[in-house]
């Protein structure tokens, strides 16, 4: 059973890679850009020549030039190195939040769709309510109470609260349409338990959708954290894409003409998000094409 | 085009141009239509019937491409080349000839009332007939099809499948076109409803006096309402003739086998299906396209392609050895 499951998941992933190579340009472009950032975040950041939280390491307020390719901040930090660190933290937050919320969301959604009845109704109402509640004010209120010293993991946990409904909704609707298909009935009649059916039969089919959703959630999580940071309620001691913006605003970077301090995190966000968006739309359209071809 | 014909097709060739090659769906087709008749186009699925209708209608979109041949239509006494004046085709649609598509399930706009959808049909340009007149015409048509006038105030989802099909038929005949193409008009319906629809269409044709072209693979339907039949195989016409004549004494071996596969009351012998399957239109067989499945095939059939010839009075077949000749 386990062997069958992993074989199928493997097959699907290999198919995905094949599509990649046979060239959906969106997927290729998106992945290339994202990989570039990931390398910056996780590989290049290993080479930071100084402790990241120190101030006054380099001359302040220098525009981009040969020595300091992205310029420096008013606190005397090299923007390039800070960026690698910020990318690392932001991406980690994004992936952690996306992993947990997608996992929870999918479990909830699949259960609700599969079991139906009372359980379904309760879970769906819960899901819809969480989607409807405006998340930002509540998040702001909560994180404000930490006075800017919230731990990254705590922050991630908080972000998960509002990100699980979307995958849940999607997983449930897919489960509902798959439930009627004969291969599910076959599995059930041959004695496979609920978990077995879900893992073995359903997952391989919806794995690409989950992946697209996952990518999207990474984007949303990073965006939310950056938004909270901009307003000053994230963990301000850490370097993230959002806290870069925060500190730049605090030091009036725009008005003092130090445009690079804002441009770097803002520009990075725009390009990074574009690449994530490309990846997730490409995945959904590749696999919806395959679906209709079936 | 001879004087009394209303449609004349010569050497029509239309392929689907795909990356892997050309699908030769309509390959050198000749036929004609007279006024006041019901003509059936018969053949297995995939033989090119639907494509033929699309081309006759003027509905050629990529990857379908009309390569050569001509389609002549008689419009108010004038002979019009369908593919020479492309800008005019849209003007002719619905007024001079109409088209009933295959499935009636989703062809009606779900958010507009039926009466408004009829109204749209009459909005042809500057000179539109007044609303009252439109209403009278529509009500008369619905009545002839056995539909109550409440249908007008309804939305499509409130009507049953049979009712929707009749609404579609009404829409297709309301401007009194000379030709009505119907693509598998009864396939999606159950047998009882099917019979009703066929009877309605038959009566409608008699009342309007125009020409119906019924495309269907169902030989039973062909026998029930058509006057004349055009049998297609693999993109080519294999036989044309009066329906009764064909059923009594088919000329083309393919037609004979088609008829034999029909169940008949009282006949308890085993139904024979035709061995093999229709050829792939990407790469049809050389010579007569039916020869691999034909029980009477000779070496000539494998080499040369028989053309459609008049064998007897008003009966045509494309075969080197037509049955009984």
């Amino acid at each position: 059973m386990r062997v069958k499951l992993s074989k199928r998941v493997l097959k699907e992933s290999l198919y995905a890679l094949k599509s990649l190579i046979t060239g959906d340009i969106r997927l290729l472009l998106g992945l290339v850009i994202f990989m570039a950032y990931a390398v910056l975040a996780f590989v290049v950041s290993r080479f930071i020549p100084f402790s990241p939280k120190r101030w006054g390491v380099v001359p302040r307020d220098i525009p981009p030039c040969w020595n300091y390719p992205l310029g420096t901040t008013s606190m005397g930090q090299d923007l390039f190195w800070i960026l690698t660190l910020a990318l690392q933290n932001s991406i980690i937050i994004g992936i952690v939040v996306a992993s947990v919320s997608t996992f929870v969301g999918v479990v909830v959604g699949l259960l609700a769709g599969y079991k139906g009845g009372y359980l379904d109704r309760i879970l769906t109402t819960l899901t819809d309510t969480f989607i409807a509640v405006p998340s930002l004010p509540i998040l702001i209120m909560l994180t404000a109470l930490f006075l800017g010293r919230i731990h990254i993991l705590m922050l991630s946990a908080v972000l998960c609260v509002f990100n699980w409904p979307w995958p849940a909704k999607q997983a449930r609707s897919m489960m509902l349409s798959l439930r009627e298909r004969t291969f599910i009935e076959t599995a059930v009649f041959s004695g496979t338990g609920t978990v077995g059916v879900i893992l073995g039969e359903v997952m391989p089919l919806i794995a690409p959708w989950i992946l697209a959703n996952f990518t999207n959630t990474v984007l949303v999580a990073i965006a939310t954290e950056a938004g909270l940071a901009t307003i000053g309620v994230s963990s301000l001691e850490e370097a993230t894409l959002g806290t870069m913006i925060y500190w730049a605003l605090q030091y009036q970077a725009m008005f003092r003409g130090h445009w690079w301090w804002i441009a770097v995190p803002a520009g990075t966000i725009v390009i990074l998000f574009f690449s994530l968006f490309l990846v997730s739309t490409a995945i959904s359209s590749i696999f919806s094409l395959e679906r209709s071809a079936k | 085009m001879s004087k009394d014909q209303i449609l004349n097709v010569q050497g029509l060739i239309a392929y689907y141009k795909l990356r892997k090659g050309d699908v030769r769906a309509v390959d050198d087709v000749n036929l004609f239509l007279w006024p006041n008749e019901i003509v059936g186009i018969a053949g297995e699925s995939g033989c090119g019937k639907t494509t033929l209708i699309k081309v006759l209608y003027g509905l050629v979109e990529p990857p379908l491409s009309m390569l050569s041949g001509q389609v002549l239509i008689d419009v108010n006494g004038e002979e019009i080349h369908l593919y020479k004046n492309t800008y005019e085709v849209k003007q002719l649609w619905w007024k001079h000839f109409s088209y009933i598509p295959q499935s009636s399930m989703g062809v009606l706009n779900p958010v507009i009332k039926i009466e408004d959808q009829f109204g749209e049909i009459f909005m042809r340009g500057d000179k539109n007939p007044p609303k009252k007149e439109i209403r009278k015409i529509v009500e008369k048509s619905l009545d002839a099809l056995g539909l109550p006038s409440e249908v007008l105030r309804s939305y499509p989802h409130q009507l049953s499948g049979g009712m929707r099909q009749r609404v579609v038929i009404s829409m297709a005949t309301i401007l009194n076109p000379r030709i009505v193409y119907a693509d598998e008009p009864t396939t999606a319906l159950d047998v009882v409803v099917q019979r009703g629809i066929l009877q309605i269409m038959s009566k409608l044709q008699r009342d309007l006096g125009n020409t119906f072209v019924i495309v269907t693979h169902d030989m039973g339907v062909q026998h029930q309402i058509t006057d004349r039949m055009v049998v297609m195989y693999a993109g080519k016409i294999s036989e044309i003739g009066g329906t009764d004549d064909i059923f009594k004494k088919p000329l083309h071996p393919y037609t004979a086998l088609l008829i034999e596969s029909l169940p008949r009351l009282g006949d308890k012998s085993e139904r024979k299906s035709i061995k093999g399957s229709p050829p792939n239109l990407l790469n049809p067989p050389k010579g007569c396209r039916f020869h691999p499945r034909c029980p009477y095939a000779t070496s000539e059939c494998a080499e040369k392609n028989p053309s459609l010839l008049e064998i007897k009075n008003r009966r045509y077949a494309s075969c080197f050895h037509p049955l009984g000749q």
């Binding site: 609260v161 441009a263 | 706009n109």
Partner: protein, 337 residues
């Protein structure tokens, strides 16, 4: 009429539940903070050097305990909390003592509402219009360019777009003023001068939300419109020789608008979130900016008030839209036979 009643009833239930759960979250969350929030705020207040009489200190402590619902047993706390939320009693603002929270909110709410309504309307209408045509002419170059444009714009967070606009139009080409909703010294009135200065000041904040939102509507409507073009009833309409205008309006638009209306209800919360940060960046005196003010001055009464209000406001708008929907969709209005 029965299907509508069922639909309205279930929407109403969801509405009440949403508000209920939202407010409950406000109750639960402060309990997860490691440092007791009351202490946090009290120490913040004394930190700033303000001297307080012991009496006042104790009174403040009481108020704070009430705000967070920390008095009494857990059930009592919850019950009181809910009661206060539903009766709209948020007490005095801690930072602008003794002004009442409700007054502060009442002053800033109209600005936010004005911004939100105009922004939502403009981007929805134009985005859908453009998307509709882009889907109808889906193979033309301009349609594909628009799609690309929308794909680049849509993922940009609202506040990043705000930063970009600030950079371009305030810093680089100083065309617009930065602060506030109107030039200093104006008293709100209905004079033309006042309206003009309001427009000038709210243009950029509105634009930043409109651009990003437009991206989303163009993208989703184009996809919807493309799907509609493949529907049987559209093909049949073409075959019937109907005029292009009729097809666009009655076949495309009428069918596409319905899901887009539902979408609007769902994205309201999103737009609201964006408005909060945008107001902060542009110092636009709506409740978003007030929220930031409350946060930075640890004014929890104001915070609670604004957050509760946001939950109610967004849910109510979504509810209203959801209730209008069945009146337009004939499939719900007249159920199936």
């Amino acid at each position: 009429m029965r299907p509508i009643i069922k639909y309205a009833a279930s929407r109403l239930v969801s509405y009440l539940l949403t508000i209920f759960i939202g407010i409950t979250l406000c109750f639960i969350f402060p309990r997860f903070v490691p440092i007791d929030p009351v202490t946090t705020i009290l120490s913040r207040t004394t930190q700033t050097g303000a001297f307080m009489e012991p009496e006042a200190f104790r009174a403040m402590r009481e108020t704070l305990l009430e705000t967070f619902g920390l008095k009494g047993s857990l059930q009592e706390q919850y019950f009181n909390f809910l009661r206060r939320a539903f009766t709209g009693d948020f007490g005095p603002s801690l930072s602008a003592y003794p002004s009442k929270v409700n007054d502060i909110i009442a002053r800033s709410l109209p600005w936010t509402l004005g911004l939100l309504f105009s922004v939502s309307l403009i981007s929805w209408v134009f985005g859908n219009l453009i998307g509709l045509l882009a889907g109808y002419y889906k193979d033309r170059k301009i349609s594909k360019t628009l799609e690309l444009f929308a794909m680049v714009i849509y993922p940009i967070p609202y506040y990043v777009m705000a930063l970009i606009l600030i950079f371009v139009f305030i810093f680089w080409l100083p065309l617009f003023p930065l602060m506030g909703a109107h030039a200093i010294g104006f008293k709100p009135s209905l004079s033309l001068e006042f309206l003009l200065t309001v427009l000038r000041h709210s243009f950029l904040p509105a634009l930043s939300i409109v651009i990003v939102n437009l991206g989303w509507w163009i993208l989703s409507m184009r996809a919807l419109s493309t799907r509609i073009s493949e529907e049987d009833f559209v093909r049949f309409a073409i075959v019937k020789g109907l005029r292009t205008r009729v097809i666009l309006v009655r076949y495309y638009m009428r069918n596409a608008l319905l899901p887009q209306i539902t979408q609007l209800a769902m994205t309201l919360g999103n737009i609201f979130n964006g408005a909060i940060l945008t107001e902060y960046l542009f110092a636009y005196p709506g409740i978003g900016a007030m929220l930031w003010w409350a946060v930075s001055s640890a004014d929890v009464n104001l915070m609670m008030g604004i957050v509760t209000l946001s939950i109610i406001a967004v849910s109510t708008s979504a509810l209203l839209i959801d209730l209008i929907y069945p009146l337009i969709d004939p499939r719900i209005r007249y159920g199936s036979k």
